[in-house]
């Protein structure tokens, strides 16, 4: 009966109900869409970071993070690779790399960068370099003299495919080594800084060049699912690897340990979202209280009549709260559908932030943001509005019980 009465009362003043309903829908939809946009941004940052040669877990010499010199490398890693692969869940990918600071020179330009030796076949699905290059091709097994550079670097050195460049770096014995390569491919990433920072050659070519035999500087692991939330306990897997690798000189770290700023931001993200919900709700709350007070005051006589007929104050509170509950439930349902449609149909191809690219890149944000709608955000936004909305409704509901039947019946 309360629900029927509440529903009919709600539509007594159709215009007022529609106005407050519109405010609720806009409020909740904006909460959810904004949350999806923010979460998509953060997820993009995480994905970029993980794909940026970090991986979910990385194993390297314990001195290497602080001093990435070639002497801090992993010696004869074959046994270690077999050992690690056996310890990981099925579907995990393991790649080995060698990296060294280097100078890339053309006849006109000298650019400092990090030269990375990779096995291109294994990099697929692990890092951005596993994707087909924007121009040219990845090096095959036969081509040992090819180098892949970033699009921005190519532009900076005013180079082109097939152009010869010279790489200079320090070998394992401490001597300077110079080797010529031809630009065979150009990679493109979300971040220009990445395109300028790295150049790639074949793993064994670089091992030969540096004179390190089969040694490498890092083992990167991609756990099943490449969105930063692997279906295994990241911290536990990292700790397990650290405890079980035979070489105690090695250090296993996961991406949260390697990227503490992003990790901390992620931990605070849900809190930020809740604060955002509360701010939007606060604006909405004034409208809700005002609407309910108006609805209550214009029905003073009715509440007086109901009390005279024997309705207990608790039942009057229940009646007013039922109206608010219906209004909010209706608003929440429409808002959630509207937010879902907005995210999935209007923003499914992403939001292009190209005009803010430089500023966005400073924070590691992708040029194209794909909003990410999660059930948590939908539930949190709706819960905040429903719970706090009902709380704000208590005041008008309590006011409705304060009308004396005698006074209200006299009121015309």
């Amino acid at each position: 009966m309360y629900i029927i009465l509440a529903w009919r009362n709600l539509w007594r003043n159709r215009r007022r109900t529609l106005i407050i309903l519109t405010a609720v829908i806009i409020g909740i939809s904006s909460m959810i869409v904004m949350a999806a946009f923010s979460r998509g941004t953060v997820q993009g940052m995480v994905s970029n970071s993980i794909n940026n040669l970090v991986g979910h877990i990385k194993i390297e010499h314990q001195q290497h993070p602080a001093d990435p010199a070639i002497e801090h490398r992993i010696i004869t890693p074959e046994k270690l690779l077999r050992q690690i692969t056996a310890m990981l869940p099925p579907g995990s990918r393991v790649v080995q790399r060698i990296r060294a600071d280097a100078m890339l020179s053309t006849s006109r330009e000298h650019v400092g960068l990090v030269l990375v030796g990779i096995d291109p076949d294994l990099e697929q699905g692990v890092s951005f370099i596993g994707r087909p290059p924007a121009q040219g091709t990845l090096f095959g097994n036969q081509n040992q003299g090819g180098i892949i550079v970033g699009r921005s670097l190519l532009k900076k050195i005013n180079g082109k495919l097939g152009q010869k460049v010279v790489i200079t770096c320090q070998g394992a014995d401490g001597t300077n080594i110079a080797k010529a390569f031809r630009i065979q491919g150009v990679f493109a990433t979300e971040l220009e800084s990445t395109e300028r920072a790295f150049a790639f050659v074949q793993l064994h070519t670089m091992q030969q060049m540096l004179g390190v035999g089969n040694d490498i500087t890092e083992i990167a692991i991609q756990l099943p699912d490449n969105n930063g939330n692997p279906p295994v306990d990241l911290a536990a897997t990292t700790a397990f690897l650290q405890a079980n690798v035979s070489d105690k000189q090695l250090l296993a770290r996961n991406w949260r340990q390697m990227l503490p700023a992003i990790s901390s931001y992620l931990e605070m993200f849900d809190g930020f979202m809740l604060i955002w919900y509360l701010i939007v709700f606060l604006a909405m709350a004034f409208g809700l209280v005002n609407t309910m007070l108006m609805a209550v005051y214009e029905r003073m006589r009715e509440f007086g009549l109901l009390q005279a007929l024997g309705m207990r104050p608790g039942c009057i509170i229940k009646m007013v709260m039922s109206e608010l509950l219906l209004l909010l439930t209706f608003g929440c349902s429409i808002s959630s559908v509207a937010a879902f449609i907005t995210v999935h149909f209007f923003f499914s191809s992403g939001i292009d932030l190209a005009i803010f690219a430089e500023g966005a890149e400073f924070w590691g944000i992708s040029r194209i943001i794909y909003p990410l709608l999660t059930s948590w955000d939908i539930i949190a936004a709706n819960s905040v509005v429903l719970l706090l909305g009902m709380f704000t409704g208590l005041y008008p509901a309590l006011r409705a019980t304060k009308f004396s039947p005698v006074q209200t019946m006299r009121h015309v």
Partner: protein, 227 residues
């Protein structure tokens, strides 16, 4: 058998610093099955007395017993329960809940009393037939005439078989023919079902129908005539 006993009741209203004595040391007894009118000019205290008997106002002095129960000893919630179970109200206007149909308005009291739906339906159907509005069951108050609305209000007041029905100027907004029909209806219910009616009125027609007329003047009982 007394259904209402009013003992030395006074009620004073305050408007700013001015005091207005609406009732001054009033005592009376109303027995079960009576058809009583509280008469008197405006401001004589008849509505105040009706409100006090109905438990929607409280006396400043004296006691009111309804069916043996002292109203001043009851808390707000208990008074609400008493009104729900033992008292039926008919007001001058604005009697019905506008968003409910005629049948739903009548049924509402039974719902509050938590009466099972099958019994509710039976009672509502029967009482609407008694007041001659069975065909208007699904119409909202705005679709009914003033007289029909008052008849629905009477149906709601008596549907739960209360100990007493208090009617405040029930015919004030009705034309004489409609008012007479309403009074006929209430008189019939009084005769057939022994429902006790107390009216606050200054309508001569209501006084003519009443078997007892208590006249109030300046908050005191000026006359008490049994016909």
């Amino acid at each position: 058998m007394a259904i209402v006993t009013v003992n030395n009741v006074s009620r004073i209203y305050h408007q700013g610093k001015t005091e207005f004595k609406a009732l001054d040391d009033v005592s009376l007894t109303i027995n079960k099955g009576e058809f009583t009118a509280l008469a008197g000019p405006s401001g004589s205290g008849k509505t105040t007395l009706l409100n006090l008997i109905g438990g929607i106002d409280t006396a400043d002095k004296g006691t009111i017993l309804l069916d043996g129960q002292d109203l001043s000893s009851l808390k707000k919630g208990e008074l609400a329960d008493l009104r729900l179970q033992d008292i039926g109200f008919v007001f001058q206007s604005f009697n019905l809940i506008p968003v409910l149909t005629a049948a739903e308005n009548v049924e509402y009291i039974l719902r509050l009393q938590k009466i099972p739906s099958s019994i509710r339906r039976q009672k509502v159907k029967a009482i609407l037939a008694d007041v001659g509005l069975a065909d208007k069951a699904d119409q909202r108050p705005s679709e009914l005439s003033g007289g029909q609305q008052q008849r629905i209000a009477v149906a709601r007041a008596v549907v739960a078989s209360p100990a007493i029905v208090l009617a405040d100027e029930p015919t004030a907004n009705l034309d004489s023919v409609t008012g007479q029909k309403l009074l006929d209806l209430m008189q019939q219910m009084n005769t057939d079902k022994q429902v006790t009616f107390v009216f606050a009125t200054h309508d001569k027609m209501v006084m003519d129908y009443a078997r007892r007329v208590i006249t109030l003047k300046d908050g005191r009982i000026a006359d008490d005539i049994r016909k």
